[in-house]
Symmetry: C2
């Protein structure tokens, strides 16, 4: 039983368009000791995104390689693109005593729940489904069939909320970031059975 402080692992999910990136950015700004573990993805970079900050953008060959080498804690396909979390990056930060934040889709979160039962799961929810669709429309015009697909995916994603430890409503990104910060502070004081060492 090591006495060294080990960081906690937080998984944040939420339907596309709910504002996860903004909330996480505000959370990290206010809590510089948190370690945000950047995911790998094969999806194309969006204009506002920075490689290595929002995602590590890789091609499918490199991604398949990461899977083969057992380098990913989880991976999942969303909208036809691969997304995955680096196992070694997460473990290294935790061993250094840093609390780690992962942004993972609901499928990937299921995998992490099995592999890392000590992780804490936070779901970011929109105030309403209408509000979510309104926010998506603001991001840019999409053809009606794409919007319908997105809505169906969002409904599917929302149906996973009840498997999470915490649900934070993103009415306002600053407040949602503060709510998550409170959850992190509380969890640090939560009495827990010593977690099983990761093999």
């Amino acid at each position: 039983m090591s006495q060294e402080p080990t960081g906690l692992l937080f998984v944040i999910s939420g339907p596309g368009g709910v504002g996860k990136d903004t909330v996480i950015e505000k959370l990290l700004q206010a809590n510089p000791n948190l370690h945000y573990s950047v995911s790998f993805t094969t999806r194309p970079k969006r204009d506002y995104e920075v490689d290595g900050k929002h995602y590590t953008f890789v091609d499918e060959e490199r991604f398949r390689n990461l899977i083969a080498r057992g380098e990913l804690l989880e991976h999942a396909t969303v909208n036809g693109y691969l997304y995955g979390t680096s196992r070694t990056r997460v473990e290294k930060a935790q061993k250094q005593g840093q609390d780690v934040i992962l942004k993972i889709d609901v499928q990937g979160a299921e995998t992490v729940r099995k592999k890392r039962p000590d992780a804490i799961f936070i779901f970011i929810q929109p105030p309403s489904m209408e509000e979510l669709m309104k926010r998506r429309r603001k991001r840019g015009a999409e053809p009606p069939e794409v919007m319908r697909e997105r809505q169906k995916l969002a409904e599917r994603e929302m149906s996973f909320a009840s498997f999470y430890d915490y649900v934070v409503v993103n009415e306002n990104a600053d407040q949602a970031a503060r709510d998550i910060a409170a959850i992190i502070e509380a969890e640090k004081r939560r009495r827990r059975v010593q977690p099983e060492p990761t093999p």
Copy 2:
């Protein structure tokens, strides 16, 4: 299944002298929406205490009457005096949507854990046993045999910490109050199964 918001119930314990009163006072000052449910006690009022604020001071006959009428959620004897929590005050505040704070000794907390499994238990811990004894000495000189008794009681109380949901170290009362506030904010966002209605 009522849709009305129901307040949460928080139980705060900790060894005598750890500074529960100061921490709770700071917590209530910063969070005026919290409802502190004042306990009944038969112990004599201390100089700095205010009747109806720190405790409702009653004689033993009145206390026995409260027990007989089923008015107490829990009661326990500490250092020869009776302490008890009003069930109706707690339930009324919760029904009004207020989060309720109870300061209860470790025995009383055990009773609440059985009667109210939905309650959240927070233990306030001193940075060390030496620090606790130092704080006690600062409160006023006590004969060595009383000090020894207090230490034994404190050790017994400390041994209950591992039954609590959260452990907050009171190194500094302002920080401890903020820690408890974070726990309350987190718990409001914690996904929970609808609690069984109290009979």
